[in-house]
């Protein structure tokens, strides 16, 4: 069954849609959740949340790419769980490292205190990544969207882990400048 048919089923409120989605994307969503949460059980619960959220969001949403739509939901759900886990001092290892790396790019400045501001920041990041050269953009995306480990990224792009680290460091520095320019952090 192709994704368009599955999305149509969501719009028709046919609950088979969820079943077909689980069949097709359970592995994929689980991998995303597990990268962030590390723990299998938390990751599975997170993926179960994904199916319910997808049902609640379609309609009104009609995603262009179902797989990535689910990826975003899973990622959000995993990050929310990560916060709770961090509070209980059992945070996901890879996500904790990625977050620590991103802390280089933030500082005092604009507070993201509501949904609207969060959406604005998403747009800003979207524009920033779209302007990066392909290789840098891809590696940055793998690391901070999919939370792939440095080692995995190195293997998948045929470069050394050191190379990956250097590229990420360079992009983070450039992102910090961009965020300053956009007024998200103080000069």
């Amino acid at each position: 069954m192709d994704d368009k048919e599955i999305i149509d089923m969501y719009w028709e409120r046919d609950q088979k849609a969820i079943y077909y989605t689980t069949q097709k994307y359970e592995n994929y969503c689980f991998a995303i959740a597990k990268n962030i949460l590390t723990n299998r059980e938390d990751s599975e619960e997170c993926v179960n949340d994904t199916w319910l959220t997808a049902w609640n969001e379609m309609p009104p949403k009609r995603p262009n790419v179902l797989k990535l739509f689910l990826a975003r939901i899973t990622r959000n759900s995993a990050i929310n769980r990560l916060k709770a886990m961090t509070a209980k001092k059992r945070s996901g290892k890879e996500a904790a490292v990625a977050l620590e790396e991103l802390s280089e790019c933030v500082g005092d400045g604009k507070d993201i205190s509501n949904e609207l501001e969060a959406k604005e920041l998403e747009k800003t990041i979207g524009v920033y990544v779209s302007q990066l050269p392909v290789r840098e953009g891809d590696i940055f995306t793998r690391r901070y969207f999919f939370t792939d480990s440095i080692k995995t990224i190195a293997t998948r792009y045929g470069i050394t882990p050191h190379n990956v680290s250097v590229i990420l460091q360079r992009v983070r520095a450039s992102l910090k400048e961009y965020l300053k320019k956009e007024g998200y952090i103080d000069e």
Binding site: E12, R13, D14, Q15, K16, Y19, Y20, T22, Q23, K24, E26, N27, F30, A31, R40, E41, S43, E44, N48, W51, L52, W55, N64, V65, L68, R72, R75, N76, I79, L99, E100, L102, S103, C105, V106, G109, K110, D111, I112, A118, L121, E122, G126, V129, S130, G137, D138, I139, T141, R142, Y144, F145, F146, T152, T155, R156, Y157, G158, Y184, I185
Partner: protein, 452 residues
């Protein structure tokens, strides 16, 4: 802005770049892929009816079994009953026998349709009150029973990934004279029975066990452990084996350790397989789900008594009607299911259960009338034992995704989702989906390793 805000905002990266980052990656020979674990189920059964005679028979001495079916072929224009007839007959008997066999706190696995097939062959040699009692217990007259079993066997779906097969054989002791040709012919017509005659010595035991081993795909190695008793003159054997792969994949992350709690509160360590299922079952005292095997010819039906209902009380409520209603009202929805891995052998001598159900004369050497089997003067023949041996194994191996029946709900409604966790005693059935007929029915009461 903090680092969490920034991390979350990566959702703003466009679909195009997300896709590109995936497409630009190298193939994955060195990457550990998520290993898919699969669940398959294998179950088999052998039922043997051992028929004895009061007098010891002496006779000719052959070494190997001779095939009595040489020259006897199933007649043409013999038809089986339709699905709706055999489904009700088989399910009704299944539930009755299941209830008779249930012992509080113990695992159970029986294949009532196999018992029916064995007894069915036997009814073709029964007369008078013996026959009447057998028909009453089996729920239909002899002719209808023959047609039900033929109808059932003819409709068994076979594929490479899901196979249910049934075989019948009759073994006569050398020297049993005057075997009735009509008995052989009817069992050939309706049961496709293989019929042999041989000396009942050590080799005979081995030969019978080998036949069972072959017909159950090696799942039941021996039906006859001890030497064949001298008074035994005949074996009617039914063997049924089922080997199938799930339709839906169990992935490695879905398989993990957990606790199964018996009715007495003992906690056992088991391995659970988690999945999302599409067909939910519920009535006033049951929750459950249906899980298909590849090809959707067969399915696993899990019935979990609601909290605080004792299994013994639950078993009492079971009936053909209740099971039919549950299956008819299954609803589409999302079921978060948890199924333990389990595997066990089960052996039961069914004499007591069948006598309690009303079939006593056939077991009584002074009353049994099985004169339709043979007309010799060896003495009155009777059923000395109905031995039922089953095996089930649920383990990991392959499958793929599939569909569920269509339904719609009002726009904006939340999806129905349920949790059915089989982490305490439950009833299960393996059914033929064409007719919703169970061919195995069991209870998992006590599995896993003790926690101490």
């Amino acid at each position: 802005m903090n680092k969490e805000d920034l991390y979350k905002s990566m959702n703003g990266i466009s679909d195009e770049i997300l896709n590109r980052s995936e497409q630009n990656m190298l193939p994955t020979p060195n990457i550990r892929k998520i290993k898919r674990k699969y669940l398959t189920i294998a179950a088999s059964i052998a039922v043997v009816i051992i028929i004895g005679a009061v007098l010891i028979i002496s006779g000719s001495r052959k070494i190997k079994a001779s095939n009595l079916m040489e020259g006897i072929e199933a007649e043409k224009d013999i038809y089986g009953a339709s699905g709706d007839i055999y489904a009700k007959t088989i399910t009704d008997f299944s539930v009755q026998l299941f209830k008779e066999c249930y012992v509080d706190g113990e695992n159970l696995l029986i294949s009532p349709v196999s018992v029916m097939a064995s007894l069915g062959m036997c009814t073709n040699g029964a007369e008078g009150e013996t026959l009447r009692q057998m028909e009453q217990v089996l729920g239909v007259d002899r002719d209808t029973l023959n047609k039900c079993i033929l109808g059932y066997m003819s409709n068994l779906a076979q594929s490479e990934k899901s196979k249910l097969s049934m075989a019948n054989s009759i073994w006569f002791k050398d020297g049993l004279k005057g075997v009735n040709n009509g008995f052989l012919q009817t069992n050939a017509n309706y049961y496709g029975a293989e019929i042999y005659q041989r000396k009942f010595d050590e080799d005979a035991k081995n030969e019978i066990n080998k036949w069972v081993d072959d017909k159950t795909d090696g799942m039941i190695k021996k039906i006859q452990e001890e030497d064949i008793p001298e008074e035994t003159v005949m074996y009617l054997i039914n063997a049924l084996s089922f080997d199938a792969e799930w339709e839906k994949i169990y992935q490695s992350h879905s398989v993990r350790e957990g606790i199964f709690t018996t009715e007495t509160g003992t906690e056992k360590q088991v391995t659970f397989m988690h999945s999302t299922e599409g067909l939910y079952l519920e009535d006033e005292d049951t929750t459950g789900f249906i899980k298909y095997y590849k090809g959707r010819d067969y399915a696993f039906v899990a019935l979990l008594p609601k909290e605080n209902i004792r299994m013994a009380d639950y078993v009492d409520t079971l009936s053909e009607k209740k099971i039919g209603n549950l299956m008819d009202t299954s609803s589409n929805g999302m079921v978060f299911a948890k199924l333990p891995k389990f595997s066990y052998d089960y052996t039961i001598e069914l004499n007591k259960a069948l006598k309690t159900m009303g079939m006593s004369d056939a077991f009584d050497f002074s009353k049994a009338d099985l004169s339709g089997i043979a007309s010799g003067d060896e003495g009155n023949i009777y059923i000395s034992k109905v031995l039922h041996k089953t095996f089930i194994s649920v383990d990991e191996k392959g499958t793929k995704a599939g569909a569920v029946t269509a339904t719609s709900t009002d726009n904006g409604a939340a999806p129905d989702y349920h949790e059915v966790y089989l982490d305490r005693p439950f009833v299960y059935m393996l059914i033929d989906c064409k007719s919703n007929t169970p061919f195995f029915i069991g209870i998992v009461s006590d599995i896993g390793e003790s926690m101490n």
